[in-house]
Structures are given as C-alpha cells and as structure tokens.
C-alpha cells in the first residue's frame, strides 16, 4: 500500500523500478528531460505568437507616422512618441463615449449582481416547484443566438422609446449576462455549507443575521468574479451597441473605436492603436486578476451541474 501511495505527488519518473525498469534508468530520464525541454520551448514559441498582436498594438501606439509607414517595421518603441496617446486623450468624443460606456456598465453591474444573487440564492437554498425548470431555462437561454435577436430587440426597445438610451442598452445587456451570472453564483452559494449558518443560529444569530455575517463574506469572491465578468461583457460588447446606439452622441467606447479606425485607416494607424490600447489595457489588467475564478466557476458549473 505504502509503495503505491508514496510516489503519488511526484513525477512518474520516480515510480517503483520493478514495474518498468527502463523508465528509471539514466537514459530514460534524460530522454524525458529532453522531451520536456523541447515542449517547454514549444510553449514559449506559442506564447510569443499569441501575444504578438497585443505587443504590436502597444508598440504601434508609441510610433510616429513616419516609423509606421517606413519600408521596414519599427519593432521596438525606441525613440517613440506619446503624441498618439495625447491625441486620443484630448479628443472630446473619446470622453463622451467613455461617459456612455460607464453609465451602461454601472447600471448593468448593479442590476445583474443583485438580481443574479437573489436568483442564485433561491435555486441553491430553497426547494420549490419550478426550480428545475428555472435552471433549465437558464441553461437554454444561454444557447439562444443573441446575434439573431438583435432586430427584434431593437424593435422592442424602439417601441418603448429606449433606443439611444443607456438604460435601454443596459437592459438588453443585463438580460444577456444574467443567465451565466446566476449559473456561476449558484456554484458559489452551494459551496458554502448550510451547516455554517445553522451553527451560527444555534449560537443565537437570527437567520438574516447568520446569512449576512457568515455566508455573505464567504461569497465575496464569487460576487467579485461575477461582477468582473459582467463588467467585461458590457464594456466590450459591440453588436447590440451598434444596433441600439445609432446616434453619434450615444456611442459606447467600442463604437467610438470603430469610428476612429474608419477615420484614420491608411493614414494614421498610430492613433488607432493608441485608442485600442487605452481601451484594452485597463480591461486586460482587470481580467488578469479574476480570470481564475471565472474559469473555475464555469467549469464547476459544467462538471458538477
């Protein structure tokens, strides 16, 4: 028993010699090490290929037009310029789009988090008729190709006078984000054992008190992860914004970026790249912090149902 259990956490190369004698010889080990080194090199090459577009965005953002239009690409931002960045930051339309984007995101975040939290609580802490069908609906709703819906969503918003309004766009975004957010939060709520709450109630807390003092703090990481998910979706979304926000004054940041691109294509890629980078970098940083929780939320939702 112990001989099997001992190498459990170690690499296969240390497994008992009598099973496959060749594997633990020096030759086998060095062969394995070579393979590992080669694979590691491959991984680094893939990493460089994958990250190159983002590097290129940042690099080009700091290049003057002369460098961008020289026969050979400028690979490094040596002797770069910040005039592209300055041009974007001094652009009034950028800040107008920023305002629209921020108002949409704030509405979406508050609504999606509160509503999804309530719903997640209901499905994971209560048993009631229709619970299963609700979860099923949540699952199926995610399968609806929203891009096919945009015309009728526009028609509906139009009939309520919500076209070109942050509230209108926020409404369709919230509906799009809710199913996944409920799905994810449900996993987090189910992960906090009800016994913890009951123990606190035995110790004299009310049910509400037990919930807010014991369970709620344990859910904070889940709420943060869901919040960031919602933020990213609402911040980055393009299609519905294109359909709903038809007035130039109501453009969100992605729409603004497309406008910037169309105005400067072929003449000044530097400004376009500066605009991209300014929109992308805060989002990427944000994303790096919480990605782990988002993936595990999805996978646990997928695996454990």
């Amino acid at each position: 028993m112990s001989t099997v259990a001992a190498p459990r956490s170690k690499r296969p190369s240390t497994r008992p010699a009598q099973v496959q004698p060749t594997a633990s010889t020096a030759a086998g080990r060095s062969q394995r090490r070579t393979a590992r080194t080669l694979l590691s090199a491959l991984a680094v090459v893939v990493a460089v290929l994958w990250v190159f577009p983002i590097y290129w965005m940042v690099n080009s953002a700091f290049q003057p037009v002369s460098a961008l239009q020289s026969p050979d690409p400028a690979w490094l931002p040596v002797g770069g310029t910040i005039s592209n960045v300055r041009q974007v930051v001094n652009d009034g339309t950028f800040w107008a789009a920023m305002r629209v984007s921020l108002s949409v995101v704030v509405i979406v975040l508050v609504a999606a988090l509160v509503f999804a939290f309530f719903a997640a609580l209901a499905v994971s802490r209560f048993r009631f008729r229709g619970r299963k069908s609700f979860i099923l609906t949540i699952l199926v709703v995610q399968m609806i190709p929203a891009e096919g819906l945009f015309i009728s969503q526009y028609a509906v918003l139009d009939s309520w006078g919500l076209v070109n309004r942050a509230a209108g766009l926020a409404l369709v975004y919230t509906a799009a984000i809710l199913p996944f957010t409920i799905w994810m939060l449900r996993g987090f709520v189910a992960g906090v054992p009800i016994e913890l709450e009951e123990a606190a109630m035995v110790d004299g807390l009310s049910r509400t008190g037990a919930f807010f003092r014991i369970t709620f703090p344990l859910l904070a990481p889940g709420l943060v992860a869901s919040g960031v998910y919602g933020f990213l979706q609402a911040w980055n979304e393009y299609t519905l914004a294109l359909v709903v926000m038809t007035e130039p004054a109501q453009r969100t940041l992605p729409l603004w970026l497309q406008g910037l691109l169309e105005a400067n294509r072929a003449t000044d890629w530097g400004v376009v790249m500066a605009g991209s980078a300014i929109i992308a970098i805060p989002v990427i940083v944000f994303f790096l912090f919480v990605q782990g929780k988002m993936t595990s939320g999805l996978v646990s939702g997928a695996v454990k149902g």
Partner: protein, 308 residues
C-alpha cells in the same frame, strides 16, 4: 468527477421556509430575462409571419403574410449559400479552436513551470483584449501596405507575391483572416477550461493505469479524455454556438473594404436586412433552428447526464 461527487452539499436542503420567499427572489431576474430576451424572441417569431418594412416602422399596421417571408428566403439560392457558408465557417472554426485549445491544455500540463506561466499569461492577454481592440490590431497586422504580416512573408519567407497583398478582397482569403482572428480569440477559453479539467483527473487513477502497463497514449485516450468529457462537451457546444452567430469580426472586416455580398454570414445578412423586420425575423428564426440542429444532440445528452 466520481471522486469529488458531492453528497449533501449539492442537494439543496429540503427546509421548511415560506415558499413565496423563493419566488420573490427569482422575480427580478426572471422579469429582466423575460422582458429583454423572452419577449423579443416571441416578437421575432411573430414578426417573421408579417410584412414589416419601413412603412410599418413608421406606424402603418403590420400585415399578416403567413409563410411568405420563409418561402421568400428559402427559395433564394443566395440565402442557401450564406447558410452553407455559415455552417462551414462554424464547423471549421470550432474544430480548429478545440484542437488547438486541447493541445495547448495538454502542453501546459507537461512543460516546466516557467514555460507554463509564460504561455498562460500570453493566452490570458489575448483572452482579455476587447473584441474591437483585437479586430483593430489584426486589421493593422494584415494591412495591405504597411502590415507586418505582408512584410514578414516578403522579407523573411521571400514570397514576393505578398508585396501589397490585400487579404480581404478574395472571399476565401477573407475567411482565412477571419478564422485566424476568431481562433486566436477563442483558444484561450478552451485551453484554460480543458486545463482546469485535466487538473481534476486524479493522479491515483493515472498511476494505477500505469502500473497495469497502459502506455501514455492509452492513458490519454482511455482515461484522460473520458474523464474530461463533460468539460469538452460544454466547451465544444459553446464554440459551435458562438461561431455560428459570429458577427463583430465579419462585420468589421467587411467595413475594412471587403465585398459584402461575397463574404456575408448569417449574422451580417440578418443585420443587412434591418429595413425589413419581417424578413430579418424569419432569417433569425431559421438561424435559431440551425443552432438547435447543430447543438440539440449535445444539449439532450448533457441534460440526461446532469443532475440539476
């Protein structure tokens, strides 16, 4: 999965509480989903049986036309071309994304720590970039005159024909560019989800198989793959859904000067019909049916296997 099967935790405790409380908690989310997703879905379905053009958008009452919109669409060979293109694009992209994603997940598991971290950060950066920013950069990379891709093909590989080559004018080349971009964006999600799945495969099982003399290849196909199948299924499902309805990438590339008619997929075709809500609604309904046809099998299987 079996090892971590939760016993009591997954089942909601049957506690006596006021039933209305649960419904009250569900209400806000249900209302938003019903208003902004459910109602438009119904509305779209209704619209698809109506004549609803510009006149109706300015107040004229809609006219019922029965299946007219559907027959109009389905007798138009161009619509069939676009449907076939969309399905082909979807399947190729989903397959490539899954293949590369799973390969990178396996790679992550087998390399040294530093290499793994490098790869993970690179993938995360690509994943976290907003789609419009990515589209913009890729258009710059593929730029006809100053794009770094043309430069590399000419100066590193000596392929002179790519000097000032325009990538998006030819439909096939247009889809190649779109595929590169879509795969680049989608692979990180697949790689990380599958990698997380791989980490859950218990070491004991692998070692037991090894002791029994299973080769690495046998272990991969007979143990690893079946154990991560639930993750693979849902990830593939999502890829198919996402790649069928792909819009932003195609639309922005079209705006870059590609011939619209030769490069339309379902999403952009529906968008181009926005003057005729009835027809757009009918085509969107057809798209929903295609999605269900492509994914229905998996959804059924998932629902059967999953304990809700």
């Amino acid at each position: 999965m079996a090892a971590s099967a939760p016993t009591a935790a997954a089942r909601p405790p049957a506690r006596r509480r006021p039933r209305l409380g649960a419904y009250g908690l569900l209400l806000p989310a249900s209302v938003v989903i019903a208003v902004a997703l459910g109602y438009p879905l119904v509305r779209q379905f209704v619209l698809s049986f109506q004549e609803f053009g510009l006149k109706q958008q300015f107040g004229a009452p809609p006219e019922w036309v029965g299946l007219q919109n559907y027959t109009d669409l389905l007798t138009d060979s161009y619509v069939w071309t676009v449907i076939a293109r969309s399905i082909a694009f979807c399947l190729v992209n989903a397959a490539l994304t899954m293949l590369i994603g799973v390969a990178l997940a396996v790679l992550m598991e087998r390399v040294a720590r530093a290499a793994r971290m490098t790869l993970q950060v690179a993938l995360l950066l690509a994943w976290g970039t907003p789609v419009l920013a990515s589209m913009t950069v890729w258009q710059w990379l593929f730029d006809t005159q100053y794009g770094v891709i043309n430069w590399t093909l000419v100066h590193v590989f000596g392929l002179e024909q790519f000097d000032r080559h325009s990538w998006i004018v030819q439909p096939l080349s247009f889809y190649l560019v779109a595929t590169v971009i879509v795969v680049w964006m989608s692979v990180p999600f697949v790689a990380f989800s599958v990698y997380a799945g791989l980490l859950q495969v218990p070491n004991e099982t692998m070692e037991a198989a090894q002791l029994d003399g299973a080769s690495p290849r046998q272990r991969f196909w007979n143990i690893t793959i079946p154990m991560i199948r639930p993750v693979l299924t849902i990830v593939l499902l999502l890829q198919i859904i996402w790649d069928l309805k792909v819009f932003t990438q195609i639309y922005t590339l079209q705006r870059a000067g590609a011939p619209t008619r030769e490069t339309n997929l379902l999403g952009t075709l529906i968008y181009s019909m926005s003057k005729d809500f009835g027809q757009a609604g009918a085509l969107a309904t057809i798209m929903l049916v295609i999605t269900l046809a492509l994914t229905g099998f998996y959804i059924r299987k998932m629902l059967k296997e999953d304990e809700l």
